[in-house]
Every structure is written in structure tokens, then in C-alpha cells.
């Protein structure tokens, strides 16, 4: 495993090349271009907050702010996965013809989503302040939560991107799966709204921990709930390990199967 990390590090120029080209081409050809990085979450926010504060009537104070925090955290995870799952197949011409550590492909997509998340903080933070939620010390924990969410996302990205080479359905099933996953994650509702008897079950969902941690530090100004976060850290490391292991196994026939 360490030799693999070493090799990925050796290919860092290629890695950053992929990350920047992914960021640049994400909205390439559109009139508004890079502005979409900021517009996209804002428009999503508009839709969800219209539905859940006008029609479904959520009683969470500053609902839009609450929603925005969770939505961005969720987006980081879901856009990474839906883009990474097909990446090996999309880059078939590279995979077939030259050698490079293939992990780079899904990992670069996760990295560019993380950077995208950081950009969107430029919208989130002013938005929170405008909504009457002011910065506090607990906000400093954000990088820590972000780091482990990125690790967990990378694990899933490695897993799905490699399986998708052999089973192309993964890419398609994943989108439906992500939609369902979104609704069992407390993004549009809060953890406290879940009926007590199901609460433990919802906590098993690792993404819940990240979303709840983001909401905790940014919205509720709480320090991290350590037990919950420790579970998230452990989970993210395990999924990264499993994802990388399976990727390495399946990697052997990539050039033939894509």
C-alpha cells in the first residue's frame, strides 16, 4: 500500500493536471462558465428551500442556512461519486495505451470536488452571516470534517469506479441509489426530527455523520460530537482501505475490459 501511495505521489504533476482540467472543463462552453460553481448550489438551495419552507413547512429556524450547509456537504459526496464511477471507462484511451497509477483518475475527481466545495464556501459564509448565524470558534473545525468526508468519498469513488469497469450498470444504478441515499441523510430535515426508534439506524449511514458534524459546527455552534465523529473517522479510513484494495485487485484487467 505504501508503495502505491509513493507512486501516486510521483505522478502528482499528472494528478494536478487532471484536477485543474476537471475544474476548467466542468462548465466549459457555458455562457456563465465558472460562475456556475456558485450559481449551482444557490439555485438548488432556492428550489429546496421553496419546497420545504413554503409547502412542507419546516420549523427549523433559519431553515435556508441549515439546508445550505447540508446540501453542500452532500453535493461534495454525490457529485464526486456520480462523476468518478464512470471515469475509468471515459478515460479508456489513456488506460489502454499508457501506464500510470490508475487510482489517480477517481482521486483527481474527488480532489476537484473538494476544491469546488471550498469555492462554494465563498457563498455559504456570507449567506450564513446574512441569515443571522455569526462565525464562532467551532467553525475552525470545518477543515477536519471536510478532510474525513473527502477520505470517505475517495474510498467510495475507488470502489465504484473499479467495479463499473466490469459491471457498467453501476454508473446508472448509482444515480437512483444516490437519490434514495440523499433522503436518508438529514439534509432537508434535522437529525432530531427522525422518530426515536429509527434514530440509531440513521446514524449508521456514514454520510449522516459528516452532514450532522457540518451542521453542528456551523449552525449549532457546537464542538464536534466526538463519539459520532470518531465513528465517521473510523468508517472513512476503513472504506478507503477497502476501496483501494478492491481497486488494486480489479485494476489488473482494466486495459482489457474498458
Amino acid at each position: 500500500m505504501f508503495s502505491r501511495i509513493r507512486e501516486v505521489y510521483d505522478y502528482r504533476t499528472m494528478f494536478w493536471g487532471l484536477v485543474t482540467s476537471d475544474l476548467r472543463t466542468r462548465y466549459k462552453g457555458s455562457v456563465l462558465g465558472f460562475l456556475w460553481t456558485f450559481l449551482n448550489p444557490l439555485l438548488m438551495l432556492l428550489v429546496y428551500s421553496a419546497v420545504f419552507s413554503l409547502i412542507m413547512r419546516s420549523n427549523i429556524p433559519h431553515y435556508a442556512a441549515f439546508l445550505f450547509i447540508g446540501l453542500l456537504a452532500w453535493n461534495l459526496f454525490s457529485t464526486s461519486l456520480s462523476s468518478a464511477s464512470g471515469v475509468i471507462v471515459r478515460q479508456a484511451s489513456l488506460v489502454k495505451k499508457i501506464y500510470f497509477p490508475r487510482e489517480i483518475l477517481p482521486l483527481a475527481i474527488v480532489a476537484s470536488s473538494v476544491i469546488n466545495y471550498i469555492f462554494s464556501l465563498a457563498i455559504l459564509i456570507p449567506f450564513l452571516i446574512l441569515s443571522g448565524i455569526y462565525p464562532s470558534w467551532s467553525w475552525c473545525l470545518l477543515p477536519l470534517v471536510l478532510l474525513f468526508e473527502a477520505i470517505a468519498t475517495a474510498g467510495f469513488a475507488l470502489l465504484f469506479s473499479s467495479i463499473n469497469v466490469y459491471l457498467r450498470d453501476v454508473e446508472h444504478v448509482l444515480n437512483i441509489f444516490l437519490m434514495a441515499w440523499f433522503y436518508v441523510t438529514p439534509v432537508v430535515y434535522s437529525l432530531s426530527m427522525i422518530p426515536h426508534k429509527y434514530a440509531e439506524f440513521f446514524k449508521l449511514n456514514p454520510i449522516t455523520d459528516f452532514v450532522v458534524s457540518f451542521q453542528g459546527i456551523l449552525y449549532y455552534h457546537q464542538p464536534l460530537r466526538w463519539k459520532l465523529f470518531a465513528y465517521a473517522v473510523l468508517f472513512s479510513l476503513i472504506i478507503l482501505g477497502i476501496g483501494w484494495m478492491i481497486f488494486n485487485k480489479l485494476n489488473r484487467r482494466f486495459a482489457e475490459e474498458v
Binding site: 504533476t13 495505451k97 459491471l167 486495459a255
Partner: protein
């Protein structure tokens, strides 16, 4: 006894390809035909072992489908063997297919950095060599044009220049020289000789007996996925050419 320094060690490598009539790629098909997917097996390499000492230049010859390219792809780690092991010591630069790792919309110059990064070089290392690469390729002002307008000869010039001027320890070439003109081919030969003198290892797949005779130290003749003959270049090449005369292998 002094330890021999091997650049490449291929040990009992077997590689099979599955040939699907029609692939069962969706879940439904995989479940329906699980375990009895209609595929034939094709053995591309059959228990091949080959040790290449550092500093030698090896020519791989053989008819189409004999396993030359598969062997080269296994050495460059694009393909993994089903059984057996491959050990490669040093930085590998491979030129297996024209235009691999190039982006058609980028200029020649941008592609030098793209292609170099795909070979694991940093921007700094590439910046040092970029002038040399442009000069060697003789592309002149075309280097600032998007390469989708390049001819195959120009592609090859650029690709060869990058692959050789990044000073690899091991250079793998698969029948790419053929598209260059005579003058550039001669220049490529000189460049390869220069690399040889620097104790670099070269593995070359070629159908051009003269090129192989000129540049290689040893020749490996692959036939039907096996090493048929290995040894002195003149002896092996002569035998190879004779085999066509006698048509004993066709």
C-alpha cells in the same frame, strides 16, 4: 561472481485474453449467462521468460499476432500477466501507440507537458528539457499549433522526442519509427545509439530487419506466443528471414 544488473526480468509469464462474441456487460446479461459467458480464450503469451541486462538493446521480431506487443505492454505495466512475474528496474518511457497521451486540442508545447506528466515527470523536470525536445522534433513554429492538425509523421516526431529526451532508464518502442521520413529515422537511430552509450536499456518491436540489425544487440523471435529463438541478432534475423523463404512457418 558479480551480480548481473537486470533492467527487466520476465519470469514464466502467461497472458490470456478473453474473446467475447458478444459481451455480457449489463447486469441482466451477467445474471442470465453467469459463469457460461460465451467467450473463447486466446493465449497471447505462453510461459515466456526473458531477462534483459541493463544497457542492452533488444529487438522483438515475429509475425503479427505472435505476442510482441502484448509482451511490451506487460513490461510497461499496462497489462498484468495472468501468471508469472515481471520485474522492471528504473524509469520506463514507452512509445507503444502513436498519439497515446496526447490531447488533440492542445498545442504541441502543451502536449509536451501533458505527455511528460503522464510519464510521471514533474513540471520542473520538463521545463528543463522542453527546448531540447522542441529542437529535436524539428517542428519549428508548429509546436504552437493544436496537434489535431499534425500529420502522423509530426505526431511521431513529437512523441519520440519526448520519450527519448526525458532520459528514461528503459525505453520501449513499438513499431513507431516507420512513419518518419528517412532523415528523421536516421536521427532517431543516432539518438537510440546515444542512449545505448549511456547504458540505457531499449526494447524495440520492429518489422524492419535493417533497423533491428543496426541498433540491437540481441534479438528475440516470438512465434505463436512463445519465444522461438533468442540470441545473436544476425543469426536470429537470418533464420527469421529464411523461414519466409521456405514458408515453413506460414
Amino acid at each position: 561472481m558479480a551480480q548481473v544488473d537486470y533492467a527487466i526480468r520476465v519470469k514464466n509469464v502467461t497472458k490470456k485474453f478473453k474473446i467475447y462474441g458478444e459481451r455480457n456487460q449489463t447486469l441482466k446479461e451477467k445474471l442470465l449467462y453467469a459463469g457460461r459467458a460465451k467467450h473463447k480464450e486466446f493465449i497471447a503469451l505462453d510461459n515466456v521468460s526473458l531477462d534483459i541486462e541493463r544497457g542492452t538493446t533488444i529487438g522483438l521480431i515475429g509475425v503479427n499476432g505472435s505476442g510482441k506487443s502484448t509482451l511490451l505492454k506487460i513490461i510497461s505495466r499496462i497489462l498484468y500477466p495472468d501468471t508469472g512475474t515481471v520485474e522492471v528496474n528504473g524509469r520506463v518511457s514507452s512509445l507503444l501507440e502513436l498519439g497515446a497521451g496526447f490531447h488533440p486540442e492542445f498545442t504541441g508545447l502543451e502536449n509536451i507537458f501533458l505527455n511528460g506528466s503522464l510519464m510521471g515527470l514533474s513540471k520542473k523536470e520538463l521545463s528543463k528539457r522542453v527546448d531540447e525536445i522542441i529542437e529535436f522534433s524539428e517542428l519549428g513554429d508548429f509546436i504552437y499549433e493544436p496537434i489535431r492538425g499534425y500529420s502522423s509523421g509530426m505526431y511521431m516526431r513529437l512523441a519520440f522526442s519526448i520519450a527519448t529526451l526525458i532520459e528514461p532508464d528503459i525505453l520501449l518502442l513499438d513499431e513507431v519509427l516507420a512513419v518518419g521520413d528517412a532523415a528523421f529515422q536516421a536521427k532517431c537511430m543516432r539518438k537510440m545509439e546515444e542512449l545505448k552509450n549511456k547504458n540505457r536499456t531499449i526494447v524495440l518491436v520492429s518489422h524492419d530487419s535493417n533497423a533491428v540489425r543496426r541498433i540491437c544487440d540481441e534479438v528475440v523471435w516470438l512465434h505463436c506466443s512463445k519465444i522461438f529463438e533468442i540470441g545473436n541478432k544476425d543469426i536470429v534475423i537470418d533464420k527469421y528471414n529464411e523461414s519466409f523463404m521456405e514458408k515453413q512457418l506460414i
